[in-house]
Structure formats: C-alpha cells, structure tokens
Symmetry: C2
Subunit: 235 residues, 2 copies
C-alpha cells in the first residue's frame, strides 16, 4: 500500500482579502456565486492575485486535477493499493476515495471542488468520494501514521526515481509527498516531516509527471505489471 | 530519439452533419464563432453526438491536452529526444514543436486548437509551435519513416512496458503509437502499420497514463535519469 500526498497544493477558495477586488467581483457575478464559494484560479485572477502572499505557489487547481487523474487511473489504484490525500496551501486535506471517478472536464472538476469546499463532502449524500477537513500536514501524518515519509524536491539528495522508490520496498506503510504547486519549494515545516528528500531530476518536473512516474515505479517495485498481465487476483 | 504518435485522436472541429443541431447552434452562439471553427467536445455536445458514427471514439480534446502536457514536460523532451505528432479521427496531423509550451488551462487549450484548425498553424506568424495538415496515418509514417513501429492496445500481445520498450533499444528511429481516444480500439488500418502491438495491462489505461509511462520507460532505457543527475550535456 502506497500513500500519496500532494502537499501545499495550489487549490483553495478565493481568500477574503480579494473578495472586494473588481476583477473578483466581476468573476463572481459571471459565475453566479459569492467569491467565498469559488476556487482561486490564476487563469482568471492573475491581476487580482498580484498582492497575495506567496502567490507564485497558489491558484492552480489544474495541477491537482491532472495529478488526481493520473493517480486514480493507475493500475496501482485499480488494485486498491494506493491512498491519495490532497493537502492544500490553505491547510485543508481532501481524502480521496479509491473508487472516485473525477470529471475529465476542467470546468466540471472546478465545480466539484467548489461543492467540496462548500459542503465538506462529495456527494452530499451516499457513499463518500471526496471528504474535506481543516487539517495541517503534520496533523494528517499524525493521523495516518506512515512508517516512512519520502518527499520529492529539487532541493533534496540526488537519486534516480528507481533508487528512491526501491528504499520503500521493506516499508509496510510508506508515504510519498509531492508538491501540488507550480513554482517555489516546500516550506521548511513540510521538509521536516520527511525522513528523506529525493531529487530525481535537476529541473523541476510537473506534479502530474512526478506523481505518475512515482506510482509506476512503485508498481514495478511490487511486480504489479507482471501480476496483472497474469491476471492474478491480488485482493 | 523517440517518435510518439497519438493516433485516431478525439480532436476535431464540429462535423458538418451537426452544424444545424439546436444544441450546436446554441453553443456556437454562446462561443461567438461558427460551428466549423469550434472543437467537438462531448462535455458540451453529448446529446448532439448521439447519431454521429463511432461517436464513442470522438469529442475528447482533453485527452490530447493531458497527453501533450505529459509529453512536453518530460525530461526526454527537454533533451530534445522526443518528437510528438497528433493524428486525429478526422485524418489531420499536428506536428508539435519540441519547444511548444501549451496552456495548462483547458479553455485556453481549446481556443488554441481552434485557432490551429482555422489557420493551419500556431502562432500565425513567427516560429511555428504547432502545424496542422490533412494527412492520414499511413501518409505520416511514409513521411517520417521510422525504422520500427510499436502500437499499444489491449488487443496486442502481453508484455510488460519494460519488456516492450527494451525492444526499441537497437532501433535508431523508433515510433510508438498510442490511441488518443477514450473507448474502443484502433482501426484495422492503424494496426496494419505496426510491426508489433503490445498489451501492457489487461485493462484499458488512459492515453496520458500510457504516454507518460512510455516516455519514462524510454528515458530509463537510455539511462537518461542518471545522465541528467550527473548534469551531462547530451546535446
């Protein structure tokens, strides 16, 4: 079982300090919802975001969208050997049900996330697919108690992804942390939570690329491709 | 050098037979463009598409969007060792410049593709990033002359991705073909073009997942992760 955490992800509702900004007011009117129930999105709020602290790390819901599509569509997830959490810049944590099937269309994904921030769960009734709570990354790790935490950052120690993932082979409950933001680095608080920080490429790779390769490399580690081709039942 | 071809991709402008459909007329008015310059998109044209031949394979521009983001952001592409072509259901071929940086936002990607279908190139002036022409898959292969063609399909012969990609090691100019559509299989004409058809998982994996893993496995084959971490210049 692998735990994948997208950390400090650029997914949040429009922060209060921007609610009165003319561009946000205009966007709110167009979308027909108050700003507090809308996602911050650099594609539409670029100018309004200029004065926001750490704005280079914020307002990119598409990063979580792509990374979740990569994770949920993986053979590892189909075998229920992957648990995904999205920790956000605003210190919310989304627990993603293995069986969740997310919209491929970006606007629908945004609508779904807005519903999640408004009601705390999706769907509002029936089997939970997504659940949101106010939680910091240390609190999340305290709750799920992984036995090894590996973070990925260009500020870490150089290892190929294969070498890095091979270290998880004797860990029954490893967690990997990938940044869910477009630029910049993890906060020091996040780095402190990791047993190890690995640098798998000299350049920053996109979140979805790292997530996708990481999951695939873990599948290789546990010989999942061979097992699935032999149609062995792993459950 | 690896050539990646997304084949029979679900990316086309709205076909003529649908131009008078009320839902399409409504969408055209909302977008402020005639239907012939708009992309077919199942998210918005689901009901209108019902009578369209092979509609289960069509109208999913998001598939090409994600797959291209995975391909263009890969270390293989950063080293200029990847050439990507998008062949579409409508027999167009898009040649993608290695240096193209695509919009992350879906609506902007759609706008860009619509511009491409209207003008045949993007941007209209200056260095070409995307180029479109009417071309079938056999014509494309005849033009680029790869020395080995491997297609990926659940109807192929079972191999792990690692085994399949290892066969490309002695080929100076291999091409890999991945389906750019959501359901169904390659046409017989496409299958005939491949020297080999590989099945890497018993279930259909999404285009972006196959593309991403394929590129990564090829990087491993040529020891690119090690080389890049050592900061060797490969160019």
């Amino acid at each position: 079982m692998l735990i994948l955490i997208l950390a400090e992800s650029a997914l949040e509702t429009i922060p209060k300090s921007l609610w009165k900004h003319p561009a946000i007011q205009h966007y709110s009117k167009k979308r027909g919802k108050p700003p507090e129930f809308l996602l911050l999105d650099r594609s539409y709020h670029h100018s309004a975001m200029k004065k926001l602290p750490e704005n280079e790390k914020r307002g990119r819901p598409d990063i979580v969208h792509f990374a979740l599509l990569e994770a949920l569509g993986s053979p590892l997830n189909k075998e229920r050997l992957l648990q995904v959490y999205v920790h956000t810049f605003s210190d919310h944590v989304i627990k993603v049900n293995t069986e969740a099937r997310l919209p491929r269309n970006y606007s629908r994904f945004v609508g779904l996330m807005e519903q999640l921030f408004e009601f705390g769960k999706v769907p509002p009734e029936g089997q939970l697919l997504l659940e949101l709570k106010h939680q910091s990354l240390p609190q999340l790790l305290h709750e799920i108690k992984p036995d090894y935490v590996m973070a990925f950052s260009t500020e870490g120690v150089s290892h190929t992804l294969e070498e890095a993932v091979s270290k998880l082979s004797d860990k029954p409950k490893p967690a990997v942390i990938v940044g869910g933001f477009p630029h910049g680095h993890f906060s020091k608080a996040t780095i402190k939570l990791a047993n190890e920080v690995a640098r798998i490429d000299p350049e920053t790779l996109e979140t979805w690329t790292v997530a996708s390769r990481l999951i695939y490399e873990y599948e290789r580690l546990i010989s999942l491709p061979q097992k699935r081709l032999k149609q062995q039942c792993l459950r």
